[in-house]
């Protein structure tokens, strides 16, 4: 099948402002959008810039807007788009550096702000090895361990679009992962951060994040659980 790719282009080193370029490509219905981008870069325009690493939905580097919806280019199949023209744009809400590459630093700054690491200064168990937890305790935060920090959720959040200071769903998901970890002792500190003006109360339950997540994390539910936890401690 023959497809048209309408791709957002921007190069700060040229005088051409942001614009769209169209490319005709031959595609198989089972091709992924990433395959098409590679075909364009390989055969038609080697200046096209986009991020990719593993190409199997694990590293999270190729999140972009495909026909208006955030997704990983390596997980979207051509046949599922039901369209002869595929529009590919960079993630919204972050500064475009070149073509489909955005500046991820504000996103990672929000991630770092919620202390995304185990906090526990209690003495180690007697055997000096692991801090054990039951299956049920592990299950409590299992869903939010799946995050790959691709930013598809945060850049689909209307509150984040409106105000980049909003901490965003990905940071809340990663806070949830530690807040509900029975081994962690930093829960109250994280809840205090998330109760602030840029935190969970900026969530308007639009559910965009849940739809955008390529890992199918129940993000809006995780945010609601963090809200409940803050209410419990306030």
């Amino acid at each position: 099948m023959r497809l048209t790719l309408k791709i957002f282009r921007y190069d700060p080193n040229t005088s051409a402002g942001p614009h769209y370029d169209r490319f005709q490509v031959e595609a198989d219905p089972n091709d992924r959008v990433l395959d098409l981008l590679e075909a364009v870069r390989g055969d038609q325009d080697d200046t096209l810039s986009f991020r990719r690493s593993c190409a199997h939905g694990v590293c999270g580097s190729d999140a972009m807007r495909i026909n208006g919806l955030n997704a990983l280019a390596c997980k979207v199949l051509v046949k599922d788009l039901n369209s002869d023209t595929i529009q590919i744009e960079p993630l919204l809400g972050l500064r475009v550096e070149k073509d489909l590459i955005v500046d991820m630093e504000p996103f990672f700054a929000h991630y770092r702000s919620i202390l995304p690491y185990l906090i526990n200064d209690e003495p180690l168990p007697e055997d000096g090895k692991e801090r054990l937890q039951s299956e049920a305790e592990r299950e409590r935060f299992d869903d939010t361990t799946k995050c790959i920090l691709c930013a598809a959720c945060t850049t689909s959040c209307p509150s984040f679009w409106a105000d980049g200071q909003t901490i965003g769903p990905a940071a809340i998901v990663n806070a949830h992962r530690f807040i509900f970890d029975s081994r962690d002792r930093g829960r109250l500190k994280r809840l205090k951060i998330l109760a602030g003006q840029a935190g969970v109360w900026r969530c308007r339950t639009a559910f965009n994040c849940t739809e955008a997540c390529p890992r199918d994390i129940h993000i809006t539910r995780a945010i609601a659980e963090v809200k409940q936890e803050i209410l419990k401690h306030s």
């Binding site: 409106a162 500190k189 809840l191 109760a195 109360w201």
Partner: protein, 128 residues
């Protein structure tokens, strides 16, 4: 490894948490208050039959005055807090945000004050 002083710190009562709770609780109360108001004023009585005599009759009862004070207090504060949330989406400068928040508070106090004065002061029916 240096660990943050994490263990005893509580989220505590912060302004945003209180504002969020306020929106939920006031919305719950607004459901019976607003529907009661719409049913009585707009359907049973009808807006064209509301005049000073009707208001005087209504406010002769302390119960209706309390009802109206509650409606004014909850509905207006709920709406103004909603406006504040919308404003925070568009105004990012901290000083401008503070200005808007104070402006909205003064606006709320002013309108609530005028409304409360009317409800508490009441009206006298016009002479026939």
């Amino acid at each position: 490894m240096q660990l943050p002083d994490a263990i005893k710190e509580k989220p505590g009562r912060n302004y945003e948490t209180i504002a969020w709770k306020w929106m939920r609780y006031s919305a719950l109360l607004l459901i019976p208050l607003v529907w009661g108001h719409v049913l009585l004023q707009d359907i049973l009585v009808g807006v064209h039959r509301i005049d000073l005599n009707y208001v005087a009759l209504r406010w002769a009862s302390l119960g209706w005055r309390i009802y109206d004070v509650l409606l004014l207090g909850f509905a207006f504060a709920h709406g103004v807090n909603g406006l504040r949330q919308v404003a925070l989406d568009y105004i990012h400068n901290p000083r401008a945000r503070r200005g808007v928040e104070w402006g909205l508070l003064i606006f709320w106090l002013l309108i609530t004050g005028i409304g409360a004065a009317a409800i508490i002061g009441g009206v006298s029916a016009l002479p026939e």
